[in-house]
Amino acid sequence: MTAQPDDATLLDIHERMTRIRIFETEAGKLMEDGKIPGALHLYVGQEAVAAGVMAHLSNADWITSTHRGHGHLIAKGGEFGRMFAELFGRSDGYCKGKGGSMHISNMELGMLGANGIVGAGPPIAVGAAFSCRFKQTRNVAVTFFGDGASNEGSFHEAANMAALYKLPIVFVCENNGYGEYTPQANHQAVVDVADRAPGYGMPGAVVDGMDAVAVYEAAGVALERARDGAGPTLLECKTYRFFDHVGVRGMGLSYRTDEELAEWQQRDPIVLFEQRLAELGVLDPGAALAVRDAVAAQVQAGIEFAEASPMPDPAVLLDDVYA
């Protein structure tokens, strides 16, 4: 068993969550104001998952992400300025403006990309995990994917291969109850995706994805197992997205009720975590507010940086197609 998070770790997780929340909220506003082109899938509500897992990882550990990828990159150390620049399509963006929200990535931080193809991450993470072992490191790969993605063949193939080769990888299913506008009950017959783990020959666990400490502890166990060469784990985090599938209000479809949303918002992962930190005497409400203010200022500075960044010169169009 990994130890419970110490105070420094708790504060670190809190800051990661706060960074995601404020970045995503501002990105949502910018999108609604027409300042961010294309599609934007926001992570608000799911912060405890990215923060709780990423608190264990270094830049030498790899992750694969999803179309809902900003939270993963922020938790992995992404800088606001370069992230906003990417969302705006500017030349200082992490992908020089060529990828945008759906392909945001950073190799130095061990972030193998958001992905526009649902279910594309797990097989790539298998490759990264293979690479970690091949190079005889203790590094690992973590693949984040949704409940919807767990129905792609690519996930099943990756899970089987990871278990077969005992690779240092953790499969983190962020089950937010929906794949786009389809509720989980209409897309799979299981309630717990983690139930599938024994079928691949790996342990599975269900975690409260609104509880950052629970995520941190469960991820710790799985990651230790992976680093020790004991093979993969399937960790399912039950969570919820507070915004629509795309953007904040999305297409305005009524596929989930206001009551359901309100119920989950009662369990806002950041509010819950701040209550806990206050009870533990680690962070009082005033200090939490100070963290929020500091992050908000960094987010504003990031937006300014991005707005000042030039659009890519059309001359770079054909750069980077090949090495």
């Binding site: 082109p37 792609e152 794949g179 786009e180 506008y181 389809t182 297409m251």
Partner: protein, 334 residues
């Protein structure tokens, strides 16, 4: 009553409404037709073109699938081979990769491999095209992959009229037909008859008559070509524009007849130029009308890179009227 019937029932409809009407008519006239795909039922598709169909035809005939493209297309292949007439939706053409075995090795070949014993009346609707800052995995035009597969038919409608007529023709066809729609065209309006009519698969449409330059194109580039033709007219070029509508089978006769008249030709598509349909069409023209040509056959297509996200880059990437005019000028030495 007779008077009312004499009035042709034609209205202005958007491309998206025309698709909706076509699928509704297909479900109404074919009791074994059903629609399956991701978010096609409850949400009526992310593009809105199946809106209302679940309510009208019920969950046995219009249903949401898991995010399992290989499974979805496989379901279509198996259901078609055993007597149903599936309408399968793959949300974005970019996701073809997920189900390419079912398309390439099963759907396209089953009839032939079985010595003609199996029939696969599948209509597969999907969405192509750039222009909406959807980046590299939601903006592609991959029709060349599909046209290379014997056993498949491939159509790409440019207008609401053709969208409706081609979908109905596809659904009545006993072969697998891929209908690749265009996302920038969803709000385009045009006249659409109320009746169930077919646009024949394999018949091109001459959308502008002209005397001295043939532009062969399809899908959204038809509209760019029409715009280019106005500019070209100022240069004394009278362009004839052929909307292929169907890429497989290809209406080579219409193309060749036009080139024999105009003596100059260019092919325009949104897909990457290298390995695109333009190469095939240019080759056919030189094979069959070499002596009629006054200049090499030109090609306009996207450059050899993935579709970039940044709006400015995407704009310079996607072919448009200006690029068509520039290519025409080059060919004319003007």
């Amino acid at each position: 009553m007779a008077e009312a019937e004499a009035v042709p029932a034609v209205r202005e409809l958007t491309y998206v409404r025309a698709i909706n009407e076509a699928v509704r008519l297909v479900l109404a006239e074919q009791s074994t037709a059903f629609v399956a795909g991701e978010d096609v039922a409850g949400a009526g598709s992310v593009f809105g073109y199946y809106a209302g169909l679940l309510e009208e035809f019920g969950p046995e005939r219009v249903f949401d699938t898991p995010i399992s493209e290989e499974g979805i297309v496989g379901l279509g292949v198996g259901a078609a081979a055993t007597g149903l007439r599936p309408v399968i939706d793959i949300m974005f053409m970019d996701f073809m990769g997920e189900c390419m075995d079912e398309i390439t090795n099963q759907m396209a070949k089953m009839r032939y491999m079985f010595g003609g014993a199996a029939t696969l009346p599948i209509t597969l609707l999907t969405m192509s095209g750039a222009g909406m800052n959807m980046a590299a995995q939601h903006s592609q035009s991959l029709e060349a992959w599909l046209c290379h597969l014997p056993g498949l038919k491939v159509v790409m409608p440019a207008t609401p009229y053709d969208a409706k007529g081609l979908i109905i023709a596809a659904a009545r066809d006993d072969n697998p037909v891929i209908v690749a729609l265009n996302k920038m065209s969803l709000r385009f309006k045009g006249e659409v008859p109320e009746a169930a009519y077919e646009v024949p698969i394999g018949a091109a449409n001459i959308v502008r008559r002209g005397e001295n330059f043939t532009i062969v194109t399809y899908s959204r580039m038809v509209h760019e070509a029409l715009q280019a033709a106005q500019e070209l007219a100022e240069l004394g070029v009278d362009a004839e524009i052929i909307d292929l509508r169907s890429l497989q089978p290809l209406d080579s006769e219409t193309v060749l007849a036009s080139v024999r008249k105009t003596h100059r030709a260019m092919v325009v598509h949104e897909a990457v130029r290298f390995g695109g349909l333009g190469g095939e069409i240019a080759a056919q023209i030189q094979e069959h009308a070499f002596d009629d040509l006054d200049a090499p056959v030109g090609r306009v297509g996207a450059p050899f890179s993935p579709v970039p996200f940044s709006p400015q880059l995407e704009k310079s990437y996607v072919p448009n009227a200006a690029k068509i005019v520039a290519e025409a000028r080059r060919l004319l030495g003007a």
